[in-house]
């Protein structure tokens, strides 16, 4: 039995979605970025402890286009962006779909601080194209997109909103719990928030901070409690990256997940990659924000359950 009316009721959100995609493309093209398409089916997904790739034959569907895009950076493509479908297993909720859309952009010769400014400009450009000015209504609140957005370090966020400090949370393996349940709902409620400088254990592919070696130059964007994007200054040390992959794979094995093949071609390219920064933005959630949707289901044509 199909609930045809639910699909009919999505029209407004789908129109917003089309406009957001159009505006995002126009923004990057106006800044001399090259739009690229890298393969969605890859032989070795990024080894990350808590992200599962979906198998596709002997290969996998990419959980993000990160590896291929960085190989392009290493080959001299200095400004690139991609809008692609990405796939992650065992992720489904009001903010998660196993198939979703990411917007990723990478820039040579810059760091995460400049990416934050790009993000501010992108959202203002999109809201301008939608004709709604800099203020948007989301979940009964108003968010002002005008620059500059709030910049809050992870450490400060734990001190301000958490029931325990960052050091304790790491010690007790409660980092995610305190972050997700206590801190996130408080972030980005009047102005968008950049939550920045993540502890090294959550560095992923980010460069270690020069000023503060216990932290990595990584940030996330929050608006109305919603996590929208993850960016960082890229790690360009292939040996360090290999160690991190091995550690992630060990965590995967320990938790009963298959380890992934080490992406050798990526590691090889990494040693030639220029200083750069890159970011992945959840397009579906961005549309949720502009369409004032309460669930990700409202901004896609079909959820898996509706097929």
């Amino acid at each position: 039995m199909s609930a045809q009316w639910k699909l009919e009721a999505k029209r407004g959100a789908l129109e917003t979605r089309a406009c957001v995609l159009y505006a995002a493309r126009a923004f990057f093209l106006s800044r001399d970025y090259l739009e690229v398409e890298t393969p969605n089916r890859i032989p070795a997904p990024l080894p990350e402890s808590h992200i599962d790739a979906l198998p596709a034959g002997p290969w996998w569907l990419h959980p993000s286009p990160e590896l291929c895009m960085k190989r392009m950076l290493a080959a001299g493509y200095e400004r690139i962006f991609q809008i692609s479908k990405c796939y992650r297993g065992a992720e489904r909720g009001s903010l998660h779909l196993p198939e979703f859309t990411l917007l990723e952009w990478y820039r040579a010769g810059c760091d995460y601080l400049q990416l934050m400014e790009d993000s501010e400009d992108l959202f203002l450009y999109v809201s301008g194209t939608l004709g709604i000015g800099s203020r948007l209504t989301f979940r009964n609140g108003e968010i002002d997109l005008a620059k500059p957005w709030e910049r809050l370090s992870v450490k400060e966020a734990f001190d301000r909103y958490g029931s325990i400090c960052l050091e304790k949370a790491l010690e007790q393996d409660r980092f995610e719990e305190v972050l997700a349940l206590e801190i996130e709902p408080r972030l980005g409620n009047q102005k968008p928030t950049f939550l920045y400088d993540y502890p090294l254990a959550f560095a992923s592919l980010a460069r270690v901070s020069k000023d503060n070696p216990a932290f990595a130059e990584r940030f996330e964007i929050y608006m109305g409690g919603l996590e929208l994007a993850n960016g960082f200054s890229e790690l360009t040390d292939a040996e360090e990256q290999r160690k991190r992959f091995e550690k992630e794979n060990r965590t995967r094995s320990r938790r009963g997940r298959p380890p992934y093949p080490v992406p050798e071609k990526f590691l090889d390219a990494l040693s030639r990659m220029p200083e750069s920064a890159g970011i992945a933005l959840g397009v579906d959630r961005m549309v949720m924000l502009f369409a004032d949707a309460s669930s990700i289901d409202e901004v896609v044509t079909f959820t898996p359950e509706e097929l």
Binding site: M1, A3, Q4, W5, K6, E8, A9, G12, E48, S49, H50, I51, A90, E91, R92, G93, S94, L95, H96, F175, E176, E177, L179, A180, L181, E184, Y198, F202, S204, E220, E227, N230, R255
Partner: protein, 187 residues
């Protein structure tokens, strides 16, 4: 055995030796961190509710229950009476045990009663029920854009969102698993 990734609304599982049902469920995953499963659960014996957050490494035993086909007879003073289709014995459940299903119970309806060590603890409804709309705001003809939903009340007192063309006295089909309107039923 269930894994945390099996958690969803209406899953029945054992927790601290009691059968529980998940009544509200939220999947949370911060950044590149591990998944968290925020659940509100109801103890199916006592009716009390608890909040628990599970991690992806948590596992659970399914609730050790059996199902029996029964007919819903009537409701009186917060007590819901059912009859066993085989031996015609009657049993009763409390309002807490019936839970959200009370929104869709119509007299003489066939459903399944769940037993835990021979005690009735819950019911399962057919996936779809047809109910009469008893209260609906009028449809402003031509208004096909604004809102797209309107609230109506059906014969069991349940409030549900429907498309604007649904009128009072009409029969509609509801999916009891989601509580959502599905379609208009003709005739």
């Amino acid at each position: 055995m269930y894994n945390a990734s099996d958690l969803r609304k209406n899953l029945r599982l054992m927790l601290d030796d009691d059968p529980y049902i998940v009544i509200d469920f939220q999947f949370v995953k911060p950044g590149k961190g591990q998944s968290l499963y925020r659940c509100k659960l109801r103890n199916m014996l006592t009716g009390s509710q608890i909040d628990r957050t599970f991690r992806e490494v948590d596992t659970f035993k399914p609730a050790d229950t059996e199902e029996k086909a029964m007919q819903f007879l009537y409701q009186e003073g917060g007590s819901y009476h059912f009859m066993d289709n085989e031996n015609f014995e009657q049993i009763a459940l409390t309002e807490e045990q019936v839970g959200d299903a009370k929104n869709f119970l119509i007299e003489n309806m066939e459903c399944k009663v769940l037993l835990f060590r021979d005690r009735p603890i819950d019911i399962t409804l057919p996936n779809f029920v047809d109910v009469v709309v008893t209260e609906a705001p009028p449809w402003i003809k031509g208004d096909t854009v604004s809102g797209n939903y309107k609230p109506v009340i059906v014969e069991t007192g349940y409030k549900v969102s429907v498309p604007p063309f649904i009128e009072q006295g009409e029969k509609i089909r509801i999916d009891t698993r989601t509580g959502e309107y599905l379609t208009r039923v003709k005739g």
